[in-house]
Amino acid sequence: MSSYEYRRYPYRRPPELEGEGARRPVVIVGAGMAGPTLALELAARGVRTVVLDEDDTVSVGSRSICQAKHSLEVWDRFGISQRMVDKGITWEQGEVYLRDRAIYRFNLQPEPGHKFPAFVNLQQYYVEEFLYERCLAEPAIEMRFRNKVVGVAPHPDHVAVDVDTPDGRYTLEAQWLVACDGVRSPVRHMLGLPFEGEVFHDQFLIADIRLLDDLPKERRFWFYPPFHPTNSVLLHRQADNVLRVDFQLGRDADAEEEKKTENVDRRLRLMFGPEARWEHEWTSVYTFTCRMLQRFVHDRVIFAGDAAHVVSPFGARGGNGAIADVDNLAWKLALVVAGKAPAALLDSYCSERRAAARENILNSTRSTDFITPKFPASRAFRDAALTLAPEFPFARALINSGRLSVPTQQLESPLDTPDRDGDWVGGPGPGRAMLDAPVGNGWLIDRLGRDFSLLTFGKDDVGPVPSGATAVPVAGNGLAWQRYDSRPGTTYLIRPDRYVAGRWRTYDPVAVNAALDRAMGRSHA
């Protein structure tokens, strides 16, 4: 029923079946969005990986669709983000309706001067297709399709992974195993790790359709619309003229009945009117949970993405949170594998990304509670905010149909050097994501080094910079200066994952060196 053509990726008989093959520095389980992104990031840093996936094609059906700016900035390093922008639907505006009335419009990126938009809507199968293409062209990455992990045995200096293939079972040894194997993570189950959190009972119907008429480009969210008066409806446009329609059904709906084409068509007919024509792409009924592992690093087994934490879909924090995980992990793991940083550096992956997961779960739970109030007073306050919204701008800010994914804050990370100069009035402080800005004829994010970057404002030549850092002088007095609250001499140390590790009013090589050591886990100032 899908218009997307699923190609099959080639299976090759693994050399381990002939008794060949050595221990691998990093083995990644799962070729969703996170696994291949991690493999590409590691390859860029000279670390070879094997990626194991149980099937031989990309994600089937309806998965993530909103790819956030901070994810596009990651994928841009591999030259595929412009393809995503070209293929996908760029949207920045959204509209919220109460009954038959538009009560609130929002713009996610009110300021110009960023290379990438706030979001691009692109189905996960395209994202995976573009990632696979790059991985298959990369000699340092071995993509092993139809390789299913059936056993995991941790040892002090490696992890032994049992893998089933069409030609039989083999064992692969890894110094580090990274489980990017999704919400039902077989690796997590094999290690018997509890995955605790909150279960939500509201059911939602997803109908991905190709509407053969005019397509709205912006995100729309309805509370109690005339065509579905008891609940909410979300509408999102995707590539290939596909629309995602998401109907809230309530707790007591009969999922099997609701999924029947004639019942879905009846709902769509009420929504789009008697003249509309469509074709079905995908239909499903879902519920969701918010859960998180106690620790993301278990000795030599590391968890990332949905395998480590799962949120409700409101806010596009699943896929984008997974990409932020592997962006945080890749440079640290590469330093540890190369022996340039102690393994304890990976503890900061756990603490930083657990804090991020908590923030994502908090935000998505608040959205969930707003969309599906759990008790009468909660519904009364929700409806009060909706009723006040047309006349009172403050009430519009309370309407929570999903707080869309932006980089989380990593405050108080042991890797960051706190501000010493007390006169900052703006700019991203330590633990916050860097901000893009136009610089010269291009963009600040394009000037960054693969490892650490040292932004220096108004100084063309700061002399030799510490090894592991790339000097990025910012001349002129443009937008970048405003965004970084800069004066001549202002210096920012940016981590490889584009977070600020420290900043100073004057360039001080000793302070920068100390901050760099601290950010690489080599000392704690």
């Binding site: 007073a377 909660s378 006349e391 701008p393 403050f394 800010a397 929570n400």
Partner: protein
């Protein structure tokens, strides 16, 4: 005389909104009413400006 503020005056609106809603969790309808009465009186006293309070009363009744 100050007019009733219409624009956002909260640094973290989601946090405040959820604190208010969560304070009602587990209360009966009657307990909610009593709770809200106390809350409104506390906030009205803090605002202090009778004109603002009267305008808010009017707006809450109108919408």
């Amino acid at each position: 005389m100050t007019a009733l503020r219409r624009t956002l005056n909260l640094a973290r609106p989601d946090g405040v909104y959820n604190a208010i809603v969560d304070a009602h969790k587990g209360l009966s309808d009657e307990q909610c009413r009593d709770f809200d009465a106390r809350l409104i009186l506390l906030l009205a006293n803090h605002i202090g400006d009778e004109a603002v309070i009267r305008e808010a009363l009017k707006e809450a009744a109108a919408t």
